[in-house]
Amino acid sequence: MREFIYLGLNAAKSYGATYADIRVIKFKTQSISIKNGKAEEISDSESYGFGIRTLVSGAWGFASSFDISKKEVQKTASLSCDIARASASLKNEDVILASIEPISGSYKTPIKIDPFTVPLEDKLSILFEAEEILRKKKEVKISQSSMNFIFKDQIFASTEGAWIKQEIMMSGAGIEATAISEGDMQVRSYPNSHGGQFITGGYELVSGLQLKENAERVASEAVGLLKAKECPSKITTIILDGSQLALQVHESIGHPVELDRVLGMEASFAGTSFLTLDKLNQLKIGSEIVNITADATIPTGLGSFGYDDEGVPAQKTDIVKNGLFVGYINSRETAAKTGQLPNGAMRADGWNRIPLIRMTNVNLLPGKPSFDELIADTKDGIYLETNKSWSIDDKRLNFQFGTEIGWEIKNGKMEKMLKNPNYTGITPKFWNSCNGIANKDSWIVWGTPNCGKGEPMQVIQTGHGASPARFRNIQVGVGK
């Protein structure tokens, strides 16, 4: 492999590249999905290839191929340089990369059990057992359980002398019950929607989740929602559970702090950002208790790794400190452009894509009260659990989220179940209304396995540490 990689890098230099990097990646994935007592999907897949990124005449080119051969790596390097030359024909300024120390290193996700060594029948047994419990309620018309595993084996090397090997393991699992009756459909899932909980780690995730033990509650709640009261339309206090708050952080803080969006590089597709450069260290984006970091070093975070796809070491960056907006996530190019230091957030979803600025683990740090104290301290409000729908404008200001379930809070106690809850707001106003964040006892690093960005589209895995938090004067029940 060393010979193959240097052949590619040297070819790029000989075709005119002033900088080049190469990533050779092999993916192995397994998806298992059970529905209504049958295996809906069981599939193994693999993908192997390389991509070469070049700078020629101050502009970027990238070419990739699934053909791992000496001839192909030279041809691909040449194509990458031709593409860069075409980019240079329409450039306003040269790309400059913030300097970094070229690293020789390696990283491996710490795991206890390699999921690819666990027999399929063991996995199926756990999934069928949990799924069968969901089906016991007659109103549950669709019962589902699933597991997903991804192993990524990657080498990154650059003409600056970097050589980094990484082995990343990701695991996910969850259950979901869909109750349908008289024109109404209600869904409950555990431990999260959209496939459950995802971590960097091994099969130990699955035994820790206790899918079977939670199945009866999940099914009962889905059925209970069919007869529950509609979430009213009003302005009220809300408490978001950690998993919903994780997506709230992702959409309204994580995306707007991506420096490529801020600089207009994603304008036509994902959009730009309200966090323009003049807002840095100036905008009070949240209340005093709001502290947010981007941290690729935390254990089990779905956005944890050793080095990003430019060879920058994983690190922790302050994003919001006591409510003040203090930091972006960046690339070597955008760091140089704005006078910052690269903070290791360039990630590609495969060998066939260029790295983009992507969230790592963007975390809302825990507060002081326990979750029970937070509820007990709330006279009137709604507790919202588990994401159902999400939408936010292209500068990340106006958002609207729906959750699977809501609970009325009266005089410090959770009471009746509410169905079809949703809430809306404007990002800085929302975070400034935060007046309670639960402590570390209920702080979980939630995995978001499906964050889309870029053209061609890239889907990346991100993590978000969060515990339940409370917000005042929020509009709920939109469109009722």
């Binding site: 193994d44 192997y48 290839g49 080119g61 199926l124 207009g264 939408s391 404007i426």
Partner: protein
């Protein structure tokens, strides 16, 4: 690229090698390239050469699927063995009857040599047309131009053996001032049929016309939705309920309502992957010929689309709407059409006393699939119509709207239609004038 001849040889070898009761091999090979621009310069510029082989085997009604992009003989054999091993571990599925049998597919010319051979410098020249216009108008252009070729081969042990090659080019761009923007896109088999000058004019006109937008209050308005917004809405409608799996599971808005009126009588929606008015395909990902399927006719729910699995459950024939196996989403419409009307967009605007013209939606998402409750934002060209004329740009609004209700309140439909990309395939849509459309929020720009 893997040639059609080589692809045929690989597929044949897999079928011969497999000991399963039934075997299906799907091989997709592609060369694609995309030039991305922002701030009036190219900033990302990429190319990809890839392939994917998926093997599905059935033994005693037990299914296993495995895939790879490593296409050596050893690797292909290992993938087949993986699929067989998976099949050996699962219980039989009583609802599985058979993979589809061979049916004759129409021959279609889907390939453009120009598009397949388009070079990075060709794409840069096209992009320069857009950037020059933006510079001339003191606007900021961003967007992406992609070109590519793809060869799809599908074969099964019941005699299905189809291979086709096609090309695709698409461009989208947003032109921006400091407080306004205008969007346009275009899709074609032949890249040289895209009129970049015309697209630049449309995007710049929208951006300039919406400078200094005013804020209006959310509420119920008459809207004129341009084809991109209509296509977005229809795509969600189709994904949530016009496939047989959602219908059979009772989670479709159409479940129990076939034959009933669900929209206004002026609404007719169908899917037709064979039409020359879309980017078409002769067969689906099981090798079944694509059929035209009437979904909603004059407001009445007529049909959903099927693949072989869902069709067999109702003793029907597949309509040619299978996605690649394994597929948890079921069959899906991928070439939607909404029937056009008689009006010009100018007539639709002229007939509107007060309303909102929407260029496109952003980040739409279904809040309640059974009730077709959709939310999303307007984006890149939202205008106020007063007394039959576009009076000014307005700040973007959030809508929260029942789609079927919106399609029951369509007052006018344009004669002209446009082809738009949907998240699964394409949608050809006209402009719609709709009354009582619910905007529930406003943003700051």
């Amino acid at each position: 690229m893997i040639s059609e001849k080589k692809m045929g040889k690989i597929l044949k070898e897999i079928l011969e090698m497999s000991p399963a009761d039934q075997t299906e091999a799907l091989l997709i090979s592609q060369n694609s390239a995309l030039t991305r621009f922002a701030n009036n310069q190219i900033h990302q510029n990429v190319a990809e050469k890839n392939a994917k082989l998926s093997i599905r085997v059935i033994k005693n009604k037990r299914t296993g699927t495995a895939s790879t992009n490593i296409l050596g003989k050893k690797s292909i054999k290992e993938v087949l063995e993986k699929a067989l091993k998976i099949a050996g571990n699962v219980s039989p599925d009583p609802d599985f009857k058979s993979l589809p049998k061979k049916k004759k597919c129409k021959k279609m010319e889907l390939f453009s040599k120009n598009t397949a051979e388009y070079q990075p410098i060709d794409r840069a020249k096209d992009v320069s047309v857009l950037i020059s216009k933006a510079n001339q108008k003191e606007l900021n252009a961003a967007g992406a131009l992609s070109t590519g070729e793809i060869t799809i081969g599908i074969a099964n042990s019941l005699g299905v053996f189809e291979i086709t090659s096609l090309t695709e080019a698409d461009i989208n761009t947003v032109f921006m001032s400091s407080n306004s923007s205008g969007y346009v896109d275009s899709y074609a088999k032949e890249v040289r049929k895209i009129d970049f000058h015309k697209l630049a004019d449309i995007a710049s006109e929208k951006a300039l016309r919406s400078i200094d937008p005013i804020a209006i209050n959310p509420g119920s308005y008459t809207v004129i939705l341009e084809p991109a917004a209509v296509a977005d809405m229809l795509t969600y409608l189709a994904f949530c309920g016009l496939g047989a799996l959602a219908y059979q599971e009772g989670r479709s808005f159409i479940s129990g309502k076939l034959g009933g009126k669900i929209t206004g009588e002026n609404i007719t929606i169908w899917d037709d992957g064979t039409s020359p008015n879309t980017l078409r395909m002769p067969f689906d990902f099981e090798g079944t010929p694509k059929q035209k399927v009437m979904l909603i006719e004059n407001g009445v729910a007529k049909n959903v689309v099927y693949d072989s699995y869902t069709a067999h459950k109702e003793d029907k024939e597949s309509t040619g709407h299978a996605l690649p196996a394994p597929n948890i989403y079921g069959p899906q419409p991928s070439n939607l059409f909404l029937k056009n009307g008689d009006y010009s967009v100018d007539e639709m605007i002229a007939s509107t006393k007060k309303g909102i013209l929407v260029t496109r939606f952003h980040y739409t998402n279904m809040e309640d699939p059974l009730k077709t409750m959709l939310t999303g934002m307007t984006r890149d060209g939202t205008f106020l119509i007063e007394n039959g004329e576009i009076s000014c740009g307005i700040k973007n609004l959030r809508f929260t709207q029942n789609i079927l209700k919106a399609l029951s309140n369509v007052e006018m439909i344009s004669k002209e239609t446009e082809l738009k990309q949907a998240f699964l395939g394409f949608c050809r849509a006209p402009t719609l004038k709709i009354s009582k459309f619910n905007f529930t929020g406003v943003t700051e720009f």
